[in-house]
Amino acid sequence: MTNPFPARVPRRTFLRAAGVALALPLLDALAPRRARAASAGGVPRRMVCINTPLGVYPPHFFPGTAGRDYELSPYLEVLKDFRDDFTVISGLSHPDVGPSHDSNQSFLTAAPHPERRAGFKNSISLDQFAAEHIFGQTRFATLPLTCEGLSLSWTRSGAPVPADSWPSNVFARLFLDGRPDEVRAQARRLADGKSILDMIRGQAERLEPSLGAADREKLDEYFTSVRELEQRLAQADAWSKKPRPRVDRTPPVNVQNSADLIGKTRLWFDLIHLALQTDSTRLITLQLLGTSSVPPIPGVSQGHHDLSHHGQDPAKIGQLRILELEKMKSLRDFLAQLSATREDGESLLDRTMVFFSSNLGDASKHSAKNMPVLLAGGGFKHGQHLAFDENDHPPLCNLFVSMLQRMGIESDTFGSSTGTLRGLEAHPGRGSS
């Protein structure tokens, strides 16, 4: 195997990105246009939300100085070629989300007190909220992905939206038409699904009258889900009659080593790039891996979770740094792919907001405050460190509202927001044509 962790932006990344673009001669002109006509402002806007669940060692991530002339931190140094394409933000967090790994569940929802477990009820996540507004414009309304474990996406009722864990399956759903018998079986499943759901919906009246309020609420949730699934199946049916975008790529081979967090991350980033480029979806969430096993990275001999509980041991912090630098490099290469891909004369990065953060601000003590936040692309005036006081800061949801508005969604509130994020402005010349 060749070195999976090249120190510089690998040339093949650009080549690969270019290769895909070449293999998609019709893409730019044809595929997204139909969708675009319907989207606000005519420009397709996209959002990728990434959570790295074991935090990022704060002293290596946050810059020491604020403003536009801030000095790059060791981790941000990796992204220096994209300095003007991202904003780093310190001090933000969700109010009422306490210190615990459970804060993962509130990462994109801001639902209060997941750490108390008792009585916790989740709420809709940022991507699903956005999907309600741009439903139907792309083959897949959203694409929740995970390297392992929990999804970042949640429904209005607080149920998890299952995330795909296998790139090969997602590739097949996005790009492969399947053998004739598979196509027939799929059509059959859709038809059966529709008639079954129709029949089930008819039973609501028969079942509900005898129930108390709390039970009725549960059944209402069920029947609402039936109706929503009917709508989704109708969409899937409509899209199934349109050809899938063709990509000149062999399907990805899933990473077999479950501890290989960097390999898994890179595979997802490649596929996300492809999904965005083909306008298969505009809303993606990605949960990265926080494994207890030892990742195959030279210089790392302990599991990621173990290293994150470094207990101030310099040797552990040293290994954590090696590991997290590799993660930052994978992010850098992803930004490079988006940046090198053109759409309507603009870079895909300018039309794609990449939100990279962690539900833990300081994993060593499970703190959920001062989350490491990086927002790249999407046509904002980047190139700055927005520094907030971690004890007196706007809610992270203010950033989410800024992102929603940039998606062209006219919403003033989301979760615990009190407005848009001050200091973050749209770039007049980018992503707005």
Binding site: G98, H113, P162, G212, D215, E228, H309
Partner: protein, 814 residues
């Protein structure tokens, strides 16, 4: 200890709904809500305004409890819960805080009695209308088990379904379950997968493989360049190393078809000085989390090969692999070479595989659905001999099949109305030109996604016999009732106390009861989280997979033993025996137990073990891989053992930043923390149990000193220098909130045992939560106390407790 013995401490803990109902001399609640509001405004609101609202007001009220605008609207469950919290805090004398002005005791009593009476009345009427328990959906474990038993198939579906939410510590609580369109979509897919498995579309059984594999030809024996295997003349292969990458695969066996296969492994200990060599068998392609992926550990005696037989369901394109345990590393062996190596090894002569095993064709699952209906060939591209069930009288057959299927799927008697919608699906399919089997599959799928299948329907009041049968079987088996339960329910005799008792005895003796142990103990003791952290290799080089699975088994087997022999649940706090195998005995420093097999072992008086608190599994899940926290362990003991969970920490408090460099201990850090008065209030209760457990490290080993990486003395074990250093001395002493001192864990356990009723109350509440999907609330105080009193007369036997719960109103009513 008094702080814990006080009942109120327990009651403040049960969930959010805290109700006080010792109404005493309280005036009866008026039916007139308007009068209540007037009385509240005149009499009590000024009192609250004077003593409480100063802190409990505005957008960020203290304790997250806002009183300036809380209306006396007891019909609203949420508002009722808040008032209950007020009552409990006032009655416990916790509020207002000591440094603030307090109202007269008589004023407090008037207020709490008035509130409690109204809360109780509103609660009783809500109960009457809705029942105690919220409608439960099958969780993913129950869903998989139910499909398995309904259809008669071995199928793995739960990993395709999203994880279920939990409440009261268990994932079978209806209140925490939410349904989404995504979940329904997964159910549709799962139903397809299950029906594909149950229904045979092949004309013949898949060919049975019966083969003997020599280990000379398998991966990595054949392909490795490292000299770690010795080849004996009679074809045996000796494996000398325990390095993971020398896990020996039966790589010739890689079945195309899922099914049940029989494996016979011929193996013996080699150069093992007369002792057995333990080895592990795992399923390839699955991760070794918890006990999943593990086929088992076995002890191979020296001498002639012993045969180890395993019958197991295998997914397509998977196989098994074997790895000796506790032998040298590959790098050590290869320096000497396998030919010259004199250390112990595992000799494997061969592995025989036979399967897929079928009793008949089409399989039982197929005949259970379709009986003897004929099959005809309807070939498709990649399966020209594909067969389908056909029918000469499709509607009559459909009705017969659906009636039998829905009865079991809905777990009750069914009427024409129940099956009409599914018949409509069949009819619509046939009219649209579908053949019989596809039309039937659509209808069966409809049954499997129907709310009557997915939810446990219970009506307010006393449960009917079918709902009772479901409660029993999901409680003790985590699956649907069997035919005997259905029959008793049909005869309406299940509800008789003596019948219930017989059934509980029968069910506990049944292999299905393993699900109760796994799911209850796995959540009560948190063992499902065993893989949440991997112990640091530097600090805990001795941690290995065998130790991990042994930890889980110890807790499960101990629970089984207490349950089987109806031992006192005080055994969970201290006990003179435990269940050990060789690995765990070595970990605990107890001599005389060898090999993988577990045995009931008496504990020496100085072992510091006995009971669940000092089990390695519990000690591991309450630590992370690097440090232990007395706060987390203390909070765990309060919640799981004493049933008095600590309130959540205030939002503005940061956790302590652990430090393993050796300069400071966690206790020294905590002492600073506790000297802050506002923290001390709770931490005086939380920390002491955690201090007692400081004698145990992150993997449950006994320690006198901390293991550190920065400053400390060198540690030598068995002549080898350890990667960690000896740090400061552990101090496991403490003072309980009531002033009782303990020097160590042994004394601490004895202090816990002073109050057995409290231990019983705690475990009873957990068991009721698990058995019914809803923890008892304060309204249930008397009913719960009645159970505690009854089992008090039976020395708090665990089996007696299960019987009492099943016979109680908690279990018999919705």
């Amino acid at each position: 200890m008094a702080g814990w013995r006080k009942r109120v401490g327990f009651w403040t803990s049960i969930g959010v709904m805290l109700l006080g109902c010792s109404a005493g001399a309280a005036p009866p609640p008026t039916a007139d809500a308007a009068a209540d509001v007037r009385q509240f405004d005149d009499q009590f609101r000024p009192l609250l305004a004077r003593y409480c609202v100063g802190c409990h007001r505005g957008d960020e009220p203290r304790g997250d409890l806002r009183l300036d605008n809380l209306a006396p609207d007891f019909a609203d469950a949420d508002v009722r819960g808040r008032w209950s919290a007020v009552v409990e805090r006032l009655r416990a004398g916790e509020m207002p805080p000591p440094e603030k002005p307090r109202p007269q005791a008589s004023e407090v009593e008037a207020l709490t009695d008035w509130l409690a009476a109204r809360v109780a009345a509103a609660d009783a009427s809500a109960r009457a209308a809705q029942g105690r328990v919220v409608l439960r959906r099958l969780n993913r474990v129950e869903y998989e088990n139910t499909l398995r038993d309904l259809l008669g198939i071995e199928v793995q579906l739960k990993d395709q379904l999203p994880a279920d939410g939990s409440a009261d510590g268990f994932d079978n609580a209806g209140a925490a379950h939410h349904t989404s369109s995504f979940l329904l979509e997964k159910y549709l897919e799962a139903a397809d997968a299950a029906l594909n498995m149950a229904i045979a579309n092949r004309p013949h059984a898949p060919p049975v493989i019966a083969k003997r594999y020599s280990m000379k030809d398998v991966h990595p024996v054949r392909s490795t360049t490292e000299s770690v295997y010795r080849f004996l003349d009679d074809g045996e292969v000796v494996c000398f190393c325990s390095s993971e990458w020398h896990n020996v695969w039966v790589s010739g066996f890689y079945p195309a078809d899922a099914g049940t296969y029989r494996f016979r492994i011929w193996a013996s200990g080699f150069q093992s000085a007369g002792r057995p060599v333990t080895f592990r068998v795992t399923e390839t392609g699955s991760r070794l989390t918890g006990t999943s992926g593990l086929v088992g550990y076995f002890d191979a005696p020296p001498g002639d090969p012993t045969v180890f037989e395993v019958v197991r369901h295998m997914e397509p394109r998977t196989t098994i692999s074997m790895l000796p345990y506790g032998l040298a590393g590959a790098n050590t062996v290869k320096q000497v070479g396998a030919e010259a190596w004199v250390g112990p090894g595992l000799a494997i002569r061969s592995v025989e595989v036979e399967g897929p095993l079928h009793d008949s064709w089409p399989p039982e699952s197929h005949r259970r659905l379709f009986g003897d209906l004929k099959q005809e060939t309807f070939g498709i591209e990649n399966a020209r001999d594909r067969v389908e069930v056909v029918s000469g009288q499709p509607l009559a057959d459909a009705e017969r099949i659906l009636r039998a299927f829905t009865r079991r799927a809905f777990r009750r008697t069914v009427t024409d109305d129940d099956i009409a919608p599914f018949m409509a699906v069949v009819r619509a399919g046939l009219e649209a030109g579908d053949r019989f089997e596809p039309a039937m599959r659509a209808a069966l799928k409809g049954v499997l996604i129907s709310p009557e299948f997915l939810f446990l329907r219970e009506r307010p009041g006393k449960l009917d016999d079918f709902a009772l049968a479901c409660r029993l079987s999901y409680f003790l088996w985590s699956t649907m009732p069997d035919e005997e339960l259905f029959t008793l329910a049909g005869q309406q005799t299940l509800g008789r106390p003596e019948v219930l008792r017989q059934q509980v005895e029968r069910m506990l003796a049944h292999p299905g009861a393993a699900a109760f142990t796994q799911n209850f103990v796995g959540q009560w003791l948190g063992l499902r989280e065993i893989d949440a952290t991997e112990p640091s290799h530097l600090l805990y080089p001795e941690f290995d997979h065998l130790l991990k699975v042994s930890m889980i088994r110890e807790a499960e087997l101990f629970f089984d033993e207490v349950l089987r022999r109806d031992l006192s649940l005080a055994s969970f706090v201290d006990c003179d025996f435990t269940m050990l195998n060789g690995r765990l005995a070595r970990h605990y420093g107890i001599p005389g137990v060898d090999g993988w097999e577990f045995q009931k072992a008496p504990l020496p008086p100085d072992s510091h073990r006995g009971g669940v608190l000092t089990m390695a599994g519990v000690l591991k899940v309450t630590a992370n891989g690097t440090t232990t926290s007395p706060v987390l362990r203390g909070a765990w003991v309060l919640d799981r053992i004493l049933g008095t969970p600590a309130p959540p920490p205030p939002d503005d408090v940061e956790a302590i930043d652990p430090d393993i460099r050796g300069g400071t201990t966690i206790r020294e850090q905590l002492d600073k923390h506790r000297s802050v008065e506002s923290c001390g209030v709770c931490h005086r209760k939380i920390d002491p149990p955690g201090f007692a457990l400081e004698s145990f490290d992150c993997i449950g080993g006994w320690r006198e000193n901390y293991r550190v990486t920065g400053n400390g003395e060198t540690v030598i074990v068995d002549g080898r220098r350890m990667p960690y250093l000896k740090g400061k001395t552990v101090d496991a002493s403490g003072v309980l909130a009531d002033g009782e001192r303990f020097e160590n864990i042994d004394q601490f356990k004895q202090l816990l045992l002073r109050d057995k009723p409290q231990l019983a109350r705690a475990l009873t509440a957990k068991l009721i939560a698990y058995a019914t999907g809803q923890a008892p609330q304060a309204t249930d105080r008397e009913a719960l106390e009645a159970i505690v009193a009854k089992i008090g007369t039976k020395d708090y036997g665990l089996r007696s407790l299960i019987h009492e719960i099943v016979q109680s109103e908690f279990f018999r009513n919705k």
